[in-house]
């Protein structure tokens, strides 16, 4: 089952103050099936984060299509209305970065439970699940009811992961989610990603230590200029 079908995607930046244009990537095409794990590779500045942000619509593309097969039909994320994108970000598309967006006066466990509550789960059940994931990623129990604004970088990242991975999504984008994690949390992350993959979540990720996720990787795309070729689709079962 196709989750994402990217066709001829092109992204560049116009820097008006310099009067210049800078290409990030051009004419990228690939498709992603449910439960597939795609690793993005490439040197610093190759455009890995840019591609993920473009798929999430934090960046606007200059050409091409991002056809997302949502529960509500196929929609081109490159052109979808802002409200539709916001809706899909709440329900079907997740993005895990290195940084937690803490919110004033929201405890770690409430922050983690929020996606479940928004999805209609009963609050005590959502809280129970939130604590389970905080425990799994190794956040000390004393911190669960505290505000993450004062947590260490690593602790914030663990809260971030618990929140981002608590609710299985159809598509999950990962931008170096392991960068500030200890070995234990990295192992817990890999295990959770394996579970999500088995449940059908399609994933595209950039990893600081790709070795961690070696067992999950189905395909790789190298964004280093000239390395990218439109993939031949032999790997896609017909």
């Amino acid at each position: 089952m196709t989750v994402l079908d990217v066709r001829g995607l092109t992204k560049g930046f116009t820097m008006h103050h310099l009067g210049t244009q800078m290409g990030a990537f051009e004419d990228i095409s690939f498709a992603l099936q449910a439960g597939e794990f795609l690793l993005l590779k490439g040197k610093n500045g190759a455009g890995k984060s840019t591609l993920l942000r473009t798929l999430y619509r934090s960046y606007l593309s200059q050409g091409g299509e991002i056809l997302f097969h949502s529960d509500h039909g196929v929609i081109d994320l490159a052109r979808a209305a802002d409200v539709d994108v916001s809706f899909l970000r709440r329900t079907e598309i997740g993005f895990v970065t290195q940084f937690l967006t803490a919110r004033p006066r929201v405890s770690a466990q409430d922050l983690v439970a929020e996606p479940l509550r928004l999805a209609g789960q009963e609050p005590t059940e959502a809280l129970r699940a939130a604590r389970h994931w905080l425990y799994t990623f190794g956040v000390k129990e004393e911190l669960w009811a505290a505000y993450p604004t004062t947590f260490s970088g690593g602790e914030q990242q663990k809260v971030n992961l618990a929140r981002a991975l608590i609710l299985p999504q159809r598509l999950l984008l990962l931008d170096e989610p392991t960068a500030s994690l200890d070995v234990h949390a990295r192992a817990a992350l890999v295990e959770r990603l394996g579970e999500l993959k088995a449940q059908g979540t399609a994933m595209i990720g950039v990893f600081h230590h790709p070795g961690d996720v070696a067992a999950l990787i189905d395909r790789e795309i190298d964004l280093t200029p000239n390395a990218f070729q439109d993939e031949d689709r032999k790997d896609v079962a017909i």
């Binding site: 942000r53 619509r57 929609i75 979808a80 209305a81 409200v83 539709d84 006066r105």
Partner: protein, 262 residues
Amino acid sequence: MMDAPQIVKTRPLLIARNVSKRYGAVQALQDVSASVYPGEVLGIVGESGSGKSTFLRCLNLEEDPDHGSYTLDLPDVQGNLFDLDRYARRMLCATRIGIVYQNPHLGLLMKHSSSGNVAERLLIAGERRFGVLREKARDALDASEFPLDRMDAPPIELSGGMQQRVQLAKAIALEPALLLLDEPTTGLDVSVQALVLDTLKKLQQERKITMVIVSHDLGVIRTLSDRVMVMKGGQVVEEGLADQVFQDPQHAYTQQLVHAKL
């Protein structure tokens, strides 16, 4: 241009179309259009004199535009609101729209008690029972995190941060469908600014009020807004999801604005 919504079927609460306003030689607004969905927060940024406050005054039905239309999708509200008579406007504003101005003098009677300022709103809307007035005023002040032991003090005796909380309490006392905020934290000390912002964020999360907020402080806009609209010279030059406008601004003016503040 993005496609029309395909998944979300809810109608926008607020639709403004081609709102224009000229003051003598100054074209303060030129065909400004905006839609805001229920529960959404629209942030407006732009240089001084770009028409932001004028637009909010139009949305608060304080100002008559030269042309344009404005609708609110509410059960008993129909047609172009700019066509309403004075009385209907006053009722609609008192019951459905709340506003917080940068300058508390515009929103408050500075020498009346703070609780009285909040209750005034309820009076206009027809509430006459003294006990209910006082209780509702207290609840609204409490929700705005105003220290209740000061609720009978006049705003003129209060700090700037507290004055903004009184304005906010007045604005939300009737659970408005739409909350308009014009530089609600500007002019406050940085630490007080953070507290007021925190209160706004809490209200937004708990009550899911639809908001339009104007601020020069991009941090404020970034913290509160779902979508952002950028104005220059009375026109909208760019709009989009908040993270997109801040991370990948398209228009030269927006790039300058974002980069200057980073």
